[in-house]
Symmetry: C2
Subunit: 332 residues, 2 copies
């Protein structure tokens, strides 16, 4: 039911996903009649890979997270998380109210042992390559202490290993300089924790200009910095797009050439907004939660479903738990 | 003497500046014979608008700021700052070691009354416009409390008024969301200080994607966030450039488009690196200091000189002092 368009977007994405993956079973939580009518429109009524769980409530996109958590116990979002908690579902994908999803996921699923805070993580593109880097936290937390950042490094490392198949992911801390003396005390403390942990291939500090350069497979920062950096990317991409459009408009000739460039650049701007591209994952919980953007297109929501499937197959939460135990044991 | 190329870059820039501004007088601090030989090469020996102050030392680009401050009292950088402090010069422009410049400027010039920390500020481009926004702090400090951020807002507002001639500059706080409940406690406290100050046209929180949108004339954040955001911009601009180049290489036809696009895009990437474009100013001090990039071109260093001239003409430090007094008086 979530997102700006609800079942209009989520149902077609769900159908594409089950058609693509014959072993995938989707439990659609929400208003049964709205779901049924969309399934019918897409010629998929009574599909064997789909179960509907009717819910009587919906968390509005502008609802206060605390209110949603306390009062909307039969919302589509809450029921989906309950199904993950009970083991009836293996992952939850939502395009709904971000704050409510985070608060409810935290409350319903609980943290993995040894992890204090969940982190929002996503893949960012790397220049001149098809590779990507995982960056976290992208805004689930405001400020993070050194232990939390250390845990984020473990979690990011597992994501890169399991989802991207990187053998020994290079983990970097985002800082305002590469020199060891730079940055705040908690960043320096985190660096010391990471250096002392043999489970992590820590490569040092990197600066903002290297997020997309391919220097690191995992980039760790607190949620405030990650969120500002990521949204700034979107701003710059739009700025560059505006400049390109300005040049292209200058003559008929350049306008034709623009037809070649604009679609690729638009796709790139979108890639810089991860939850519009393939969702961002809320990790550190005892269950898998993927957040798609409120105004996600069908293909973005479809990508978010595939991302959840990948995390289920690779057992990301279990792997984080193991890696953290190993990291902490070897550290002590 | 500063920067990667020293007088090879700074002398031609100095000559361009005095030729452009007949009332400008430049005091060149550094090794006299190196300066003289560059002046001669540029047919400007004994120029009436130039004085040379010979210094026996140079702060190396990789020197520790504390060492430079303590031991290099006859360095070109230190002497230039001394001249500002004594009133013999009205501004200092340097492409030298950033940390050493900040530490020495802070020590030699001292803070303006009521200002606790200097801030690094620069102009950023705005999409679809020739306007720009001032953003601070870009990395002179790591973490800033709410009083410091409040002072930065006052200083940024004065820069926008005096340098850009904006009557009532719109001041925004960079945050991870626009809603009032978002962000850290010290950001919320800063918002309250700004709301209560009639001297500031405070417009609320903005997110990273609005840095270049023209919503605000002044964007305030702590040095860590500002530095990461700005350097991330550079990274994204390079990423987009790489993508454009990739598409352009595809055919002869698109290569022609490239000839039109590449120079403008390269210029744009440079504009996103303020100290390569026109320098970044260290404000809050009892004197004017403009920092140009270590690998600045002649035109970038020339722009930094013009920026310093502008700040002298508009009496930026005095205006900051007055505005701060007004803001604090009305607040109490």
């Amino acid at each position: 039911m979530g997102g700006d368009s609800g079942p209009l977007i989520t149902i077609p994405s769900a159908i594409s996903a089950i058609n693509h993956l014959p072993n995938l079973h989707l439990i659609l939580c929400g208003d049964e009649s709205a779901i049924q009518s969309q399934l019918k429109l897409n010629n998929s009524s009574n599909h064997p890979q789909i179960t509907i769980v009717h819910t009587s409530e919906v968390v509005a996109m502008d609802e206060k997270p605390s209110i949603a958590l306390r009062t909307k116990k039969d919302s589509s979002m809450r029921r989906a998380l309950d199904l993950v908690q009970s083991g009836e579902a293996q992952a939850c994908v939502s395009a709904g109210n971000t704050g409510a999803l985070f608060a409810s996921a935290h409350y319903v699923l609980k943290m993995l042992p040894g992890i204090e805070r969940p982190a929002l993580v996503s893949q960012l593109p790397i220049a001149n390559s098809n590779q990507h880097a995982f960056m976290l936290d992208l805004g689930a937390n405001v400020f993070c202490d050194s232990n939390t950042l250390f845990q984020f490094a473990i979690m990011g490392s597992v994501m890169s290993e399991q989802v991207d198949g990187i053998a020994s992911p290079r983990v970097a801390l985002l800082n305002m300089g590469e020199e060891e003396i730079k940055g705040s005390d908690h960043i320096k403390q985190t660096a010391n924790l990471l250096k002392a942990c043999p489970e992590i291939n820590y490569i040092g500090f990197i600066e903002g200009n290297d997020i997309f350069s391919g220097k690191a497979d995992v980039i760790v920062c607190d949620g405030f910095v990650g969120n500002v950096a990521l949204k700034t990317c979107e701003g710059v991409a739009r700025l560059v797009m505006a400049k390109v459009l300005e040049i292209i408009k200058e003559s008929k000739f350049t306008r034709i050439l623009g037809l070649l460039l604009i679609p690729t650049l638009k796709k790139m701007v979108k890639r810089l907004n991860p939850d519009q591209y393939n969702g961002a994952s809320l990790i550190g919980l005892r269950g898998i939660v993927v957040k798609s953007h409120g105004n996600a297109t069908s293909s973005a929501f479809y990508n978010a479903i595939l991302e959840a499937v990948k995390e289920v197959e690779r057992q990301v939460p279990e792997k984080i738990k193991t890696k953290l135990e190993l990291g902490l044991v070897k550290r002590s």
